[in-house]
C-alpha cells in the first residue's frame, strides 16, 4: 500500500479546498482526461481550435487512488497527472510528469453524507507543479463540475495542533529535528525566528503534557506550546507568544501557514490528510 502512495512523499503540495463536484463519476475518468487534455491545448494556444481525442503535446492521465481514504464511506481519491511528450521523438522519449494534483477525502463522511447523490465530496485538493497548470486544470474542473477551488491557509492555531500531534507520533528513524518557524509582525524588514528542538526532547515534553493517549485537547496543546515558549524566553528573552507561528516541520510532515504541506512518512499520510480534510470542510461549510 505504501508503495502506491510513495510518490506523494517529499514533494511540496499546495492546498486547496474544493466544494462538492456536481455530476462527477468515477466511470468516466478516461473521457475526462480526453476533454481536459484538449482544454489544456486550447487554453495554451488561445484562439486555435483543438480536436478532442487526438494525441496532443500534453498528456493527461486521470486515475483513482483507492488506498487514500479513511473508510469505505469516503470517496476514492482522484489523481490528475500532466506529462509532456518530447515533440522530436514522441515514441522513444519517456513521458515526464510536469504537474500533478489530487483530490481526496479522508474521514470526511460526516460532510458527504449530508450531500445529495449528484455530488461527489472530495473537499481537499493538493497540487504540485507550475501554477499555470493548476489554474487551467482547476478552471476545467470548476467549469465541468460546478465546484469552487479556494486556497486553504493553515492558521497558527492549527499549526500548533500539528506540532503537538506530530511530536507524539512514533517514527522508526528519529533523525530530523523538529523545527518551528515564527515570524515577527510589524517590522520594516521581515524577521523569522527558527526554533529547532531535538525530537526526543519534544516527545518527552509532550508525554508529560498529554493525559490520555490517543486523545488531545486544546488545553494540552496550549500547555505544550507555552512550555516551549517559556524555555525559549529563558534563553533568549524573546516572547514567542507575541509572534506568529508560520511553519512546523517534524519527521511526519511539514506545514506552512500559506497552505503548503510536505508529507514525509507514508504510515502517517492518511492521518495528516484527515486533519487537512477537516480544515478543508470547515472552509467550504
Amino acid at each position: 500500500d505504501s508503495q502506491k502512495t510513495a510518490f506523494l512523499l517529499r514533494k511540496q503540495w499546495t492546498l486547496y479546498s474544493v466544494t462538492p463536484l456536481y455530476r462527477f463519476s468515477d466511470a468516466h475518468l478516461r473521457d475526462y482526461a480526453r476533454l481536459l487534455s484538449a482544454f489544456i491545448a486550447a487554453e495554451k494556444q488561445k484562439g486555435l481550435a483543438v480536436e478532442i481525442g487526438v494525441e496532443l503535446g500534453i498528456k493527461v492521465a486521470i486515475s483513482s487512488l483507492p488506498d487514500l481514504r479513511g473508510s469505505d464511506r469516503d470517496q476514492a481519491a482522484i489523481l490528475v497527472q500532466l506529462s509532456s511528450r518530447s515533440p522530436a521523438s514522441p515514441k522513444n522519449s519517456e513521458e515526464k510528469v510536469i504537474w500533478s494534483g489530487w483530490f481526496c477525502s479522508v474521514s470526511g463522511d460526516d460532510f458527504s453524507e449530508n450531500v445529495p447523490e449528484d455530488f461527489t465530496c472530495l473537499p481537499l485538493f493538493l497540487a504540485n507543479g507550475a501554477e499555470s497548470y493548476t489554474s487551467i486544470v482547476g478552471s476545467w474542473f470548476q467549469k465541468t463540475f460546478d465546484c469552487c477551488f479556494r486556497r486553504l491557509a493553515i492558521s497558527p492555531l492549527n499549526l500548533s495542533w500539528m506540532a503537538a500531534m506530530w511530536t507524539g507520533c512514533k517514527v522508526d528513524k528519529n533523525v530530523s529535528a523538529m523545527e518551528l518557524v515564527f515570524s515577527v509582525p510589524h517590522l520594516p524588514q521581515p524577521l523569522d525566528i527558527s526554533y529547532a528542538i531535538h525530537p526526543e526532547d519534544a516527545k518527552a515534553l509532550w508525554d508529560t503534557v498529554q493525559k490520555t493517549p490517543g486523545e488531545i485537547t486544546q488545553e494540552e496543546v496550549d500547555v505544550f506550546m507555552d512550555c516551549l515558549y517559556s524555555h525559549f524566553h529563558r534563553h533568549f528573552k524573546i516572547r514567542l507568544s507575541a509572534t506568529k507561528l508560520v511553519k512546523v516541520s517534524t519527521a511526519i510532515a511539514s506545514a506552512h501557514c500559506d497552505g503548503i504541506i510536505k508529507f514525509l512518512q507514508s504510515q502517517y499520510l492518511t492521518g495528516v490528510l484527515m486533519l487537512l480534510t477537516e480544515l478543508a470542510i470547515s472552509q467550504i461549510q
Binding site: 486550447a42 488561445k46 484562439g47 486555435l48 478532442i52 501554477e131 482547476g138 470548476q142 467549469k143 460546478d146
Partner: protein, 741 residues
C-alpha cells in the same frame, strides 16, 4: 464590421404571411391584390406616381428576364433605363418577392458585364421577403461558376445580410455541404464561414467537417471567421472539438453589413416595421478580464455555457433517457423570453450555476424548477465567492467596487426570486461583527432584508447584537437605513408566511422554525428589537422627525399584521416611540401615528370578533395586555387631541399624567388645551391658517372662536389639508354624538 451574431433561423423568420405573396404573373397583370402593397399605396400621398413606378418596374423585370448575352451598358439606353428603374425603386421601397428570381438569375448567369451585375446585386433590397427558391437557384449558378469571383463574393455578402428575409430555409439547409465545399476558396472562405455560422445546426457538426476546418486553421492560422464557426461547432458538440477564444476579441466577421444594411433599414423604417432580426448571440467564452490577478482570486461571474458534463453520461443511457442529448437547448442560445417558453421542457441549467445571477431568463427558469441540487450548487459557489471577496480591510478601490457590484447583483437576484440565499445569510452572520458599517453599506443592509426566518437565538447573536452596536454608534442616516431594511425584512417574512399558508400541507415546509408559533416568536422578537433600538435612538438623536418617520413606517406594517398578513400577532409601539410621536412638533408624525392607531383598532376589533364568533378555543389569541396597552394609548391620545384632559386621564405608567399643582408652576395658561387639535404644536399652524380664512379681518388670532360648528369646519379643513390619518382616527375612535349636541 459587426459583432458575431447568429440570427434565429427558420422558426419564425418574418411576420409576413406567406399567403399574401402573389406569383409574378398575378402581379404583372397589374392587380393590386397584394394587401401589403395596397397598404403601401394608402400610405403614399401620390397613388398615381406609385402606379407608374410599378409599371416601370414590371417592364424592367420582364426586360431582364429576356435580356440577351453581352448587352453593353454604354451603348444600350434601354438597359440603362431599366437598370436605373430597378435601382431607384429598390432604394426607395425595396423589391417585391417576385423580383429576386429574375434579377439574381441575370446577375449570376454572367450574361451582362460585371458593372451591371454589381449594380443589380446592390439593388436587391427586399420590401418584404425573399423566396427561398430564388436563393437555391442562385446557388446552382454559383456552382457552375459562370460569374466572376467578385460577383460570387458580392452575392455571398448579400446572402449573409438578407439571411433573415429568406422566407424558408429548409432547402437552403440541405445545401449545407455545398456551402461547406466553398471554404476551399481562400477569398470566399470568410464569407462562407459566416454563412455556415448562420446555417449550422447540431446535425451539421460532423467529425470530418471539424477535421476540414482544423486543416484550414493549420493552413491559414488564427482567423476570426474560423474561430467563430469552430466555437459554434464546440457549442453543439463539445465532445468533438474545443477552443478558447482570446479575451480581447470583439469582431468575428469583418465587413458583414455590405452595402445593403443601411438601405434595408431605411426601407424598413419607411414601412414602419420592426426588423425581424433577433437578438445577436455572444459566445459566452469571450469574457473580458480586466486585471491580472492570481488564479481564482478574481471575482468572475461564470458565463452561461452548456453543461458538457452529461454528454457522455447520456450517450450511454440513451435508450433509457427520455430526452436524448440532442434535444437539449444550449443556454448560450437562450436570448428571449419566448425562447424560454418554447424550450423550457428541454432546457438545462448552465454548467456553472453562478451564471444565473446575470441571466434573468435563467432566474425565471430557476423559479419554475424546484430542485435541491440547483440551490446547493449556487450555495457553494456563492458562499465561497462571498468569503473570498469580502475584504473589509483592504482599501483597494477597484476590488471594492467589484465586490459592491457583486453584492448588488446578489440582492437583485434575491428580489427577483423573492427569497434569500442561505449562503448570503451565512456570509452576513460571519461578516457583520467585523463590518465597519460603512463599506458597501446600502448593499449589506439590503441583503439583511432577505435573511430567511430562523430561530431567535441565532438572530440575536448573529444579527441583532452586531447591528445594535453599529446602530447606536453611527449617524442618523445609518439609523434610518437600518430601520428601513428591518422593515423590509419584516415584510419579507410576512409575505413568506402568507405564501406558505396556502401550501401548509407540504410537510417539508414545517421545519422547526417555520411552525406558526415559531414564526410568531421570531417576528415578535424582531419587533421588540426595533422597538428597543427606536426608543434609544429617539433619545440619542433628540426626536428628529426624519428618524420618527422611519420608526412609524415600521409600525405601519406592524399594526396591520393580523388583517393584512393573517398573523395572529399585534405588538404596540413602546412608550418611548408613542409619546415622542404624539407630542411631535410635526404634523406628518402626528398624522402617521393617528393612522397607525386606527389600524391597530381595526385589527384588534377584527381579532376580538373572530375570537367571540368561534366556539373552539383558538390556538393563538392576543393577550389582554395588548388590549390594555392599546386602551391606555387611546385614552392618552383622545385626552390630548380632543377632550383636553391628557394630564388628568393618562393612565400609562410612562404617560403624561401630571399633578395640577405641578402644572400651575409652569405658568402656562390654559395648559389643559395645549395639546388639542388646535393648540398642539404640530397643529397650530393649521389653526392659524384656518382663522385667517374664516375671519380674514380678525388679526387677533382668537383660537377660542373655533368651537361648535366652527370646530367641525376646522376638522373638515384639516382633512382637506391631507391629514387623512387624523380623519380615520377621529372617525373611528371618537364618539361624536356628544359633540353634535
Amino acid at each position: 464590421s459587426e459583432k458575431m451574431q447568429r440570427r434565429q433561423t427558420s422558426k419564425q423568420p418574418l411576420q409576413v404571411h406567406h399567403k399574401n405573396q402573389t406569383g409574378l404573373s398575378a402581379w404583372r397583370k397589374g392587380g393590386r391584390i397584394d394587401p401589403e402593397k395596397s397598404v403601401q399605396n394608402h400610405q403614399s400621398p401620390n397613388n398615381q406616381k406609385n402606379d407608374s413606378k410599378q409599371d416601370s418596374l414590371e417592364q424592367a423585370l420582364s426586360y431582364f428576364e429576356k435580356v440577351q448575352d453581352h448587352v453593353s451598358l454604354k451603348k444600350n439606353n434601354v438597359l440603362q433605363k431599366h437598370l436605373t428603374t430597378v435601382e431607384s425603386i429598390a432604394l426607395q421601397r425595396g423589391l417585391p418577392p417576385e423580383g429576386f428570381d429574375v434579377l439574381l438569375n441575370v446577375a449570376l448567369s454572367g450574361k451582362l458585364s460585371d458593372t451591371v451585375n454589381t449594380r443589380l446585386l446592390k439593388s436587391l433590397i427586399p420590401a418584404s421577403v425573399i423566396p427561398e427558391t430564388s436563393v437555391v437557384s442562385s446557388v446552382s449558378w454559383l456552382c457552375v461558376s459562370k460569374c466572376s469571383s467578385n460577383i460570387q463574393l458580392l452575392f455571398l455578402r448579400w446572402l449573409i445580410t438578407v439571411f433573415d428575409f429568406i422566407d424558408h430555409k429548409e432547402q437552403l439547409h440541405a445545401l449545407y455541404g455545398f456551402f461547406f465545399s466553398f471554404l476551399q476558396d481562400e477569398k470566399m472562405c470568410p464569407y462562407v464561414c459566416h454563412l455556415l455560422y448562420l446555417l449550422t445546426r447540431k446535425e451539421n457538426v460532423k467529425p470530418f467537417r471539424i477535421r476540414r476546418l482544423l486543416d484550414l486553421q493549420a493552413k491559414m492560422g488564427m482567423q476570426s471567421h474560423l474561430q467563430a464557426l469552430l466555437s459554434l461547432y464546440k457549442l453543439f458538440c463539445p465532445e468533438l472539438v474545443t477552443i478558447t477564444l482570446p479575451g480581447k476579441m470583439k469582431t468575428y466577421f469583418k465587413d458583414s453589413e455590405g452595402p445593403w444594411k443601411a438601405t434595408i433599414k431605411t426601407v424598413r423604417r419607411r414601412k414602419q416595421e420592426n426588423s425581424p432580426v433577433s437578438q445577436p448571440l455572444f459566445l459566452g467564452t469571450a469574457q473580458p478580464q480586466s486585471r491580472k490577478r492570481k488564479w481564482n482570486t478574481q471575482l468572475i461571474i461564470p458565463a452561461s455555457s452548456t453543461n458538457k458534463n452529461n454528454l457522455e453520461e447520456d450517450r450511454e443511457n440513451q435508450c433509457v433517457d427520455f430526452y436524448s442529448t440532442n434535444e437539449f437547448f444550449p443556454v448560450e442560445q437562450l436570448q428571449t423570453f419566448s425562447q424560454l417558453l418554447q424550450n423550457i421542457h428541454h432546457l438545462e441549467f448552465p454548467s456553472q450555476m453562478g451564471s444565473v445571477l446575470t441571466n434573468p431568463l435563467l432566474l425565471h427558469y430557476m423559479n419554475c424548477i424546484k430542485d435541491e441540487s440547483i440551490y446547493l450548487r449556487l450555495y457553494y459557489w456563492m458562499g465561497q465567492t462571498l468569503q473570498e471577496e469580502c475584504t473589509w480591510y483592504v482599501a483597494d478601490n477597484k476590488q471594492y467596487e467589484e465586490f459592491k457590484d457583486f453584492l448588488e447583483m446578489v440582492y437583485k437576484a434575491e428580489c427577483f426570486l423573492q427569497e434569500g440565499f442561505s449562503s448570503c445569510e451565512e456570509f452576513l452572520y460571519k461578516s457583520l461583527p467585523l463590518w465597519d458599517g460603512f463599506c458597501c453599506r446600502s448593499q449589506i443592509l439590503r441583503l439583511v432584508s432577505w435573511i430567511p426566518l430562523s430561530s431567535f437565538s441565532e438572530m440575536k447573536s448573529h444579527l441583532y447584537d452586531p447591528l445594535a452596536q453599529l446602530f447606536f454608534t453611527s449617524s442618523l442616516y445609518f439609523k434610518c437605513s437600518v430601520l428601513e431594511s428591518l422593515k423590509e425584512l419584516l415584510q419579507n417574512w410576512l409575505n413568506w408566511h402568507v405564501i406558505h399558508l396556502d401550501s401548509e400541507s407540504d410537510s417539508q415546509v414545517h421545519s422547526l422554525n417555520t411552525t406558526l408559533s415559531g414564526l410568531v416568536n421570531v417576528v415578535a422578537e424582531l419587533i421588540d428589537f426595533v422597538g428597543w433600538i427606536s426608543t434609544v435612538a429617539l433619545r440619542l438623536e433628540n426626536n428628529p422627525t426624519f428618524l420618527l418617520y422611519f420608526i412609524l413606517d415600521f409600525y405601519e406594517t406592524v399594526c396591520d399584521m393580523y388583517l393584512r398578513y393573517n398573523l395572529p400577532l399585534l405588538i404596540m409601539p413602546p412608550a418611548g416611540v408613542f409619546y415622542p410621536a404624539l407630542l411631535s412638533m410635526d404634523s406628518v408624525s402626528l398624522n402617521q401615528l393617528c393612522y397607525i392607531m386606527y389600524r391597530y383598532r381595526t385589527n384588534l376589533v377584527a381579532a376580538k370578533e373572530n375570537e367571540l364568533s368561534k366556539k373552539k378555543i383558538l390556538q393563538f389569541k392576543f393577550s389582554s395586555q395588548t388590549y390594555q396597552e392599546y386602551n391606555q394609548y387611546i385614552i392618552a391620545m383622545v385626552g390630548c387631541l380632543w377632550t383636553s384632559s391628557a394630564f388628568q386621564k393618562d393612565i400609562h405608567p410612562q404617560g403624561l399624567c401630571m399633578d395640577d399643582e405641578l402644572l400651575k408652576k409652569t405658568t402656562v395658561q390654559e395648559f389643559k388645551t395645549s395639546f388639542n387639535i388646535i393648540y398642539h404644536p404640530a397643529m397650530m399652524g393649521y389653526a392659524v391658517l384656518f382663522l385667517q380664512q374664516a375671519w380674514p379681518d380678525d388679526m387677533t388670532f382668537n383660537f377660542s372662536l373655533i368651537k361648535g360648528k366652527k370646530w367641525n369646519w376646522y376638522l373638515e379643513y384639516l382633512y382637506a389639508q391631507g391629514l387623512k390619518g387624523l380623519k380615520v382616527f377621529i372617525e373611528s375612535s371618537i364618539n361624536r354624538v356628544s359633540q353634535a349636541s
